[in-house]
């Protein structure tokens, strides 16, 4: 394991660049017309997939810490969360900017008719306060309520899943995979919570 401040900073830069790769690859494909017959959809789904993946990675760090007893996963929690927000923002930006061409008329026509879009917007709204309060300064300022606030990410994980399930036409394989992952990651937390609170009643 790397040690020292320099080591961690270097590792963080590597993880940061790796996390940026999906974005660079998708933009590169867009520039070179490599996104296939429906490039807007490819960008839209691509960013959406990565938002969900980073949300899963972010949710996995605390359970990894719990299971391994190592503290290092927590060092990456903020970055992973912010990348989830970054990809979710791009996902929404592609929808508003490219799919609806920034047209308010199109927004009014499409969004109210689509429960899954509304669920996606709700998910994004839930992520905004988390991204805004992600700095160390805000963490200190909010104290205990910061922890409570950031439990919203569990809700966002669930609404993101509902968003995915509602847009599928027939084949639920992919959202089921994400549901299994998020279900397991939240399940571990519930198990840990039950064990801790159970101890309170022990003699």
């Amino acid at each position: 394991m790397l040690t020292g401040k320099k080591g961690w900073a270097g590792l963080k830069i590597i993880v940061f660049l790796l996390s940026l790769m999906p974005f660079l690859l998708l933009v590169n494909d867009a520039i070179n017309d490599q996104l296939g017959a429906n490039p807007v959809e490819a960008l839209h789904f691509g960013f959406g997939d990565w938002a969900l993946r980073f949300l899963c990675i972010g949710l996995a760090l605390t359970p990894i810490k719990t299971i391994t007893g190592q503290r290092w996963p927590i060092r990456f929690r903020r970055m992973m969360g912010l990348f989830a927000f970054f990809y979710a923002s791009l996902h929404l930006l592609v929808f508003i900017g490219l799919d609806l061409s920034f047209s308010w008329e199109a927004f009014k026509d499409e969004v109210p008719k689509s429960p899954y879009i509304l669920m996606g917007l709700l998910t994004f709204l839930l992520l905004i306060p988390l991204a805004v309060t992600s700095t160390k300064k805000m963490q200190k300022r909010l104290g205990r309520s910061w922890l409570k606030l950031h439990r919203l990410v569990y809700v966002a994980g669930l609404t993101a899943l509902v968003h995915y399930f509602w847009l599928v036409k027939l084949d639920y394989t992919e959202p089921l995979i994400y549901a299994a992952v998020i279900g397991a990651l939240l399940g571990i937390r519930i198990a840990v919570y039950c064990r801790k609170s159970g101890k309170l009643f022990e003699p």
């Binding site: 996104l35 296939g36 429906n38 960008l43 490219l98 061409s101 429960p115 899954y116 509602w166 027939l170």
Partner: protein, 310 residues
Amino acid sequence: MLIKTKSNILNSEVTDRAVFESRREFIKAATILSAGVMLPISGHAETGKNIGPYSAKLHVTDREDVTSYTNYYEFSSNKKDSTILARALKTKPWSVEVAGEVEKSGVYNLEDILKDNPVQERIYRFRCVEAWSMVVPWLGFPLGEMLQRFKPTSKAKFVEFTTLYNPEIMIGQRSNGLDWPYVEGLRMDEAMHPLTIMATGMYGDELPNQNGAPLRLIVPWKYGFKSIKAIVKIRFMENMPGTAWHKSAPDEYGFYANVNPEVAHPRWSQSHERVLGSSIFTPKRNTEKFNGYGEEVAALYSDMDLKKYF
């Protein structure tokens, strides 16, 4: 974010009929004015084949886009995977069973069917229920003329079509999802309408497997899922057949499935469509009622509430 696209000369005008209809002048002007202008080959509607009626002068979608983006759940629900998996299908020899309320029922070789039905080119818009669209130069023949030869009885009010069932090759049929085999149907007057064709080819060539080889239906004023692929059975019926997507989600997919921007799918709007092959900055196209074929087909539904019978 600065993004350029390859051929922005005509791609930006994909949906602009007025511009495209005057393309001869445009091409002439472009040729004279700038020798350096590259025109995409797909810009030409005619391919010099036997061109049938209704072949509206539309900007044909690139063949590459039409063959790499297909909904073929018999193979996969992923549009790219299905194009690759469909290669495994053998389409020769092929026969079609004709059954039900018909005098000349029996099993017909596709080759014999083709002898009686010379193909012509039809350039049609194709609008998917998922709100994307394309323009394809199909090769085919009018379904009505073919059906008449089998002499349907007076009891025949509907025609039902069935796709091949072969889960060994069509691996999507191994999982539940739709009630396999895929079934679609038309009212007799819809089937007899001269716009409705049986397609055996496209872009002047045979149908690629992923696009429904060797024989598929094309009903240009209806959502794409009506245009059933790899047909092995045609049955004439007195009652409305139960069709695949309708059975799977009756509130989302109707039997008629006429393209209609005024009737939204329960989960998304149908008022606009993404034109395949257009650049990422091209806005969506306004969907036309009956996919732009209202003049020809609206009379078929004159006494029907299209919101109820969607």
